[in-house]
Amino acid sequence: MNTALKRTPLYDAHVKAGARMVPFGGWEMPVQYSGIVEEHRAVRAGVGCFDVSHMGEFEVEGAQALAALQRLTTNDVGALEIGQVQYSLLCYPDGGVVDDLTVYRLATDRYMLTVNASNIDKDWRWVSEHGAGARWRNVSDATGLVAVQGPKAEALVGRLSDVDVTRIAYYRFATGRVAGVQTLISRTGYTGEDGFELYVAAADTPGLWSALLEAGRGEGAMPVGLGARDTLRLEMRYALYGNDIDETTNPLEAGLGWIVKAAKGDFVGRDAIEKVRASGPARKLVGVEMADRSVARHGYRVVAAGAASPIGIITSGSYGPSVERSIALAYVPSAQAAIGTDLGVEIRGQVKPARVVKTPFHPSRVKK
């Protein structure tokens, strides 16, 4: 196993900006610049720029591309129009999750998949093995990715772009120039705010990055690290692979049944998932709010109110800067998953009161 940390094309820019760099999924990434809470609030109130170039991109083309994707992914790629994006999953035959991803339809017989950074090698082996018949290309290293998120993202990207970005609907994309750079402009994100994810050539990424921060200075645009990316997505209850979903979790218990389309025909994992659908999942991923401000972190045990034996487990948890409470996601038995159910979370040997709450924790403001 190669243990050397990889760097994105923006590594030098992050160091120069004084970012705190940390290892993340095999990459050396900025966890914060000015501070997680400040960066989080900048995205909710204005606009922030994220380097997500560590994410992986695969292209697949040919007459067999659609059939290969229909077999590999859980969502219905047949329903995807050119210029449209779809959230989906790769699953194992037993229904466990290989990865979550987005699928872009670039042309009639050409698609792009965006996968999690820490899963690039595993996913590449998986699609190569199970996506036979189509032509695959791993373009991860050649591709830079910058997310521009927040209520002022449309104005910022629009000002630098030669296409009318106001016409790009949610989960749609267009191609054009942004700050003079050839860009795939995708109206997607991982924050719950309006915004874009900008795919560019690796070599063009530093130029685009500095142009965005420069042009957005008047609106308070700031670079945002992985720390705030995590708190922003957690407030929206967006799943994080490796925390909330992995090879041991079923899409239905994770609340991702809406991207599993059994009616489209056979796909890897379908039988196992449909078996769970018939009986109902034994456990569910729920939103949890702590009574005090102590943080329930990944791996902490969940107990029933007033009891000691564990019934579930925290998968993600943090202080939510917008909700101003300690929030978490947890797998609990379906019988204890109803909103309002009192629970306890074992924190440093002490049971702290918590409650199942409605999600998202913070209202989504994506452009629907």
């Binding site: 966890v31 809470v37 943080v295 300690s326």
Partner: protein, 132 residues
């Protein structure tokens, strides 16, 4: 650059201690709060609790991490900062002032003298500081 008041004593775990008559006020250093990032939760002992030098007396949590708080001196907790549970960010804003954590009545006066001086702590931090 370093914000290390010369009138305080320091631990290698990045707490500060200040003699106030026969009591010792305790908090975490500027360096510690900077390393932690945004503090979101502080757990302190109750008044009357006994603390032991170099052993954990409480916990501070930032968005990303949990860290134990270590007592600079042994003794009895006679006051805690009642503001911190509601305003943990005070630790970031004013670590040597309003962000103080506990006041201890020491049981062994000699322990305070064994702590690092400001100059020694500054050198310790400059050499990497061992993390919090």
């Amino acid at each position: 650059m370093a914000n290390i008041p010369s009138d305080l004593k320091y631990t290698r775990e990045h707490e500060w201690a200040k003699r106030e008559g026969d009591r010792v006020r305790v908090g975490i250093t500027h360096f510690a709060q900077e390393q932690l990032g945004d503090v979101v939760f502080v757990e302190l002992p109750k008044v009357g609790a006994k603390v032991t030098a170099h052993q954990a007396f409480g916990v501070v949590e930032s968005v990303k991490a949990v860290s134990d708080l270590f007592a600079p001196v042994s003794g009895e907790v006679i006051e805690t900062n009642a503001e911190l549970p509601q305003k943990p960010e005070t630790v970031n804003k004013d670590p040597y002032g309003k962000g103080w954590m506990i006041i201890v009545k020491p049981s062994n006066a000699g322990e305070l003298e064994q702590l690092l001086t400001a100059q020694q702590y500054e050198e310790f931090v400059a050499q990497g500081g061992g993390g919090h």
